[in-house]
Symmetry: C2
Subunit: 548 residues, 2 copies
């Protein structure tokens, strides 16, 4: 099967950098270094795809190569459906992935439509062409474990053991995020390749051949206050209850198996090698068994919580699935967003990320230095940038991520654009973010769980976010359904804007990188968060209901 | 309570015509001549509102008055939540109304959020500020009955009797649409004010005091092949079965009670005067009774079909509700879209509408003449324009609607803009449309029922439609959930673009009024409609999957 990789360097085949950037980034999403299953166009998150099929991929890249600077390509669930004349401030690509009319927004109808070739699952950054490999989630995971450390363990995970499962595209960031915070991690996965891959990328330190060995290694490292991450091959629905029964001394428990899609979670009693065949044979039976297994898995997580551990849902809907599987107390532990992330959202903070179209790691090193000099007083940010520079192996185009807030992202974007203009960087920089951001997602089991005013399920915000990004000069904008937590459970939007060194790009970046995080501020002001109200007042975010 | 009415004339209080237009159009939506219940901000369709509450209305109008030509106001379910700096090609207002994450997209959660002051029901053109009164639907209704006539009765309804119910904001257009097609209509409504209002507006001819009298008048007119519309006060769930039992000679049966919202349908056994009180006392019990009554109502409609009548669902979800009410054969008759409207959608045809900001009917008369001269060969269009000029009483700002297709709407828009520029019109023209359009809605019980490829529930299209309108220079753009057919059952988008006579407006109109109907063409090409494929080929609509 064909191998796709982004072009590198400062010469383009498209008619402008925004088009060229889209072209390179869809290819980069499918780079074997980046994508989980490139031969099936699957980038990450179980079945999150970059394009519907290879014919669609060909037509997208062909159209991008020909697209003029006042034209816009429309992509419907990974298939290019039209090219329309717009203007130079308009995005070059508009994307809507996996969206369904709510009453039909369930896995059964989605799979029927997918099988008929009419839709695809876009996850968050798979179908919107800004996935940058495991680093993308590493920073968020690092931030989350740092917040856990601050809340419960005096600012460091040194001397603690974290138990989790799932070492896939997103979950694979967990072991490194824990060790970056000084802790010990036991990571369960049923797929030996996931374990090997994380060891290969230096995200995971060692592999244990049994739960007993994993525990022994963990206790040793914990007692020496030495960071260590340990992979162990097992079914989490089996291993987590077993560890609970063994009385394992675990301080933090979470999970990132692909629970949001029950067809991707290995049920108890099925060997990993038979998983695909069993799923294809009887998807409904498989779903029921997966949910029952998740019920056992979550029951054991609640058991650890009852025993005093810090336990949280890491955004994969496992609580919802476990409840469907018959376990009543599934929501006994919180989601990670209300527990740790929402205070950041109130400041418009979120996963600012960028990639160097040159392909040269030196360009990222230069932007790293720029970030350090732009925000000299932000010590946690500086620590992250330095550690990332040391520990993160790039996948595909060199890229970086750090969380920046309202009033910061635009400064960074304009600086990068100046660096492209001055020739300090060898080629343009692509600036985007995850859909998991402060003002771009409605997801009652994750980003908008437990909002202060009860507005968890209101989905106007991500749609306004997408529209305001289209109106502000983003290079491509996407609206997706079901990313992260599964079909029916989220609506979210993304934007990517290209810093090509032109004055126009500078103006677009200034607007997009203010308005986009500005959505986070106004969303949380509207919900009544005092932190957001004071950020809005300090930084002059305009809220009509509060103007005289 | 306060009375709102749009300003008239060629002087503005806002800083630009797009802003002024939005200001006048939200006020026009609430003009007592236009709105069904202006004191509650309800414009039409049961509970479709223009703004969340009066404080929101004040803040919207205040913000519009101050808004600069490179700023954009964000409206979340009728409340203004932000003002952001964009650019002069960007819309001045972006609106998202009533959107919910799918798993929570049901009436119960919606009403909980509405009661908490967190959302409102936007219907289609209520919350997007381009409702123009009953004329808006009159043209669509006229087209539909004309198609019924063409299909079954040799091109005219002369000599036939149509039975329908619901004389509200939308349904009130039915009697005039039937008589314009030469037929006789019996129209049942339980609210005597709805009947009086339609007689007042000359949409309904006479009122009968009983079903027997209505039938007698109908037979007389039918036998004389004389057009006549007859209102009769009754509960449709009672009257339609009664007429069936009486053996009434009915040729066409449909319904436009507000069935999409079971709290707005009068159940059997409740007097109209007690409706509000009973609903407030026990909303759940009321809902169940309404659905049971709809089951009886639809059962009688199917009875008429079995007896040979032409029967169709007129887009109010009554089949879905009747099935919930326990009636199995509810979907025995089709929706009006697959039956009559889809062939028009394939050509990018849909409800093009405009209003004269001058307030002077002479401006509409001039645009009527312009339409007649632009499309001299389109006889059905000319017939409509002439009849509308005679029979339609304006409500609020003078306005006109006619269905135009891809390649026609942009011609009309640019012509109007030229007429503003030359001074032939006294003030700018606002050009918009219903959300019920060829490429702007996903609604499996109505606009996208029975798509050729089974893609009824795919909601990417309206989102792409909204984004491409934002990217093309529309003055305001909206994304709504649940209009027409109720919460959970539709996603749809709207655009309004102002012809202020400037060159920039001309460029924007050229793009918006091509790209917007272009979405209809590509949506139907993608679904495999041959008509759409040939329109795309003839008019050079660009479809990447079909380019070499
Ligand atoms: N917290 C966040 O910010 C965030 C962000 C994105 C995605 N997610 C969610 O995290 C989950 C994981 O995402 P991913 O991209 O890593 O998915 P993935 O499919 O790439 O990886 C899932 C891993 O889980 C393993 N697995 C499946 N069933 C198992 C079982 N019973 N026992 C042990 N291991 C099992 C698989 O072998 C695989 O390695 C998804 O549900 C995703 O939606 C969370
Ligand atoms: N076909 C279309 O293109 C289209 C467009 C928009 C709306 N609709 C749908 O049509 C329906 C009507 O819309 P509307 O704006 O006229 O609503 P409305 O609320 O203004 O009017 C509904 C009318 O139905 C009457 N009614 C309610 N229950 C009744 C009963 N049991 N018997 C007799 N009369 C009863 C009410 O008294 C009222 O006059 C809605 O469901 C709407 O969603 C259809």
């Amino acid at each position: 099967s064909r191998v796709v990789r982004a072009a590198r360097g400062s010469a383009m085949t498209a008619k402008g950098w925004p088009q060229e950037a889209a072209l390179r980034m869809i290819c980069n999403n499918l780079d074997p270094e980046v994508a989980e299953h490139p031969e099936r166009l699957v980038v990450y998150g179980g079945s999150g795809k970059a394009a519907r099929d290879w014919a669609s991929f060909e037509a997208i890249t062909r159209s991008l190569t020909r697209l003029d600077g006042d034209e816009t390509l429309l992509v419907q669930s990974g298939r290019p459906v039209g090219v329309m004349r717009t203007h130079e401030w308009a995005p070059r690509v508009l994307i809507a992935n996996s969206n369904l009319v709510p009453e039909w927004a369930n896995w059964e109808e989605f799979r029927r439509l997918e099988a008929a070739g009419l839709t695809m699952y876009g996850q968050m950054t798979a179908g919107s062409w800004i996935y940058i490999g495991t680093q993308g989630i590493l920073q968020g995971t690092y931030e989350t474990f740092a917040a856990v450390a601050a809340k419960r363990f005096g600012g460091s995970l040194a001397g603690t053991i974290t138990l989790t499962a799932g070492l896939g595209g997103m979950g694979g960031a967990q072991p490194l995020a824990v060790t970056m915070n000084g802790g010990v991690a036991i990571c369960v996965d049923c797929d030996p390749r996931s374990i090997e891959r994380r060891i290969g990328h230096r995200y995971l330190d060692v592999r244990a051949s049994s739960l007993e060995e994993a525990l022994r290694l963990a206790y040793e490292a914990r007692d020496a206050r030495r960071p260590l991450s340990i992979g162990v091959e097992a079914n989490a629905a089996d291993a987590v209850p077993a560890l609970l029964r063994m009385g394992a001394e675990i301080d933090v428990v979470t999970d990132q198996t692909s629970a949001h899609d029950p067809l991707m979670y290995l049920p108890l009693g099925i060997a990993f090698a038979d998983m695909a065949a069993e799923r294809d044979k009887d998807p409904e039976g498989f779903t029921a068994r997966a949910r029952e297994s998740m019920a056992r898995h979550v029951e054991a997580m609640v058991g650890f919580q009852d025993a005093g551990a810090e336990v949280f849902d890491y955004g994969n809907s496992i609580r919802g699935e476990a409840r469907l599987g018959g376990y009543e107390r599934a929501f006994a532990f919180p989601g990670f967003v209300p527990a740790y992330i929402r205070p950041l959202f109130c400041q418009g903070k979120g996963p600012f990320r960028w990639a160097a179209l040159s392909g040269d790691p030196a360009d990222i090193a230069a932007t790293d230095r720029a970030i350090l000099s732009l925000f000299p007083d932000n010590e946690p940010l500086a620590r992250w940038i330095r550690m990332a520079g040391e520990k993160v192996a790039f996948q595909g185009l060199p890229a970086r991520i750090c969380w920046l807030g309202y009033g910061e992202r635009d400064l960074a974007g304009e600086r990068f654009n100046d660096m492209v203009a001055s020739g300090e960087l060898q080629a343009p920089i692509v600036i985007g973010r995850d859909h998991l951001d402060c003002g771009s997602v409605a997801s009652p089991y994750r980003e908008t769980e437990g909002m202060l005013d009860g507005s968890d399920a209101i989905a106007d915000w991500p749609l306004l976010n997408a529209m305001v990004n289209v109106a502000s000069g983003a290079s491509w904008v996407s609206i997706h359904h079901g990313g992260g937590v599964g079909i029916g459970r989220s609506i979210h939007a993304g934007q990517v804007t290209v810093a090509d060194g032109s004055a126009l790009a500078g103006e677009k970046l200034a607007r997009v990188l203010s308005n986009d995080p500005g959505m986070g501020v106004i969303r949380h002001v509207d919900a009544g968060y005092e932190d957001a109200v004071s950020v809005a007042a300090q930084r002059r975010v305009r809220i009509p209901m509060r103007e005289p």
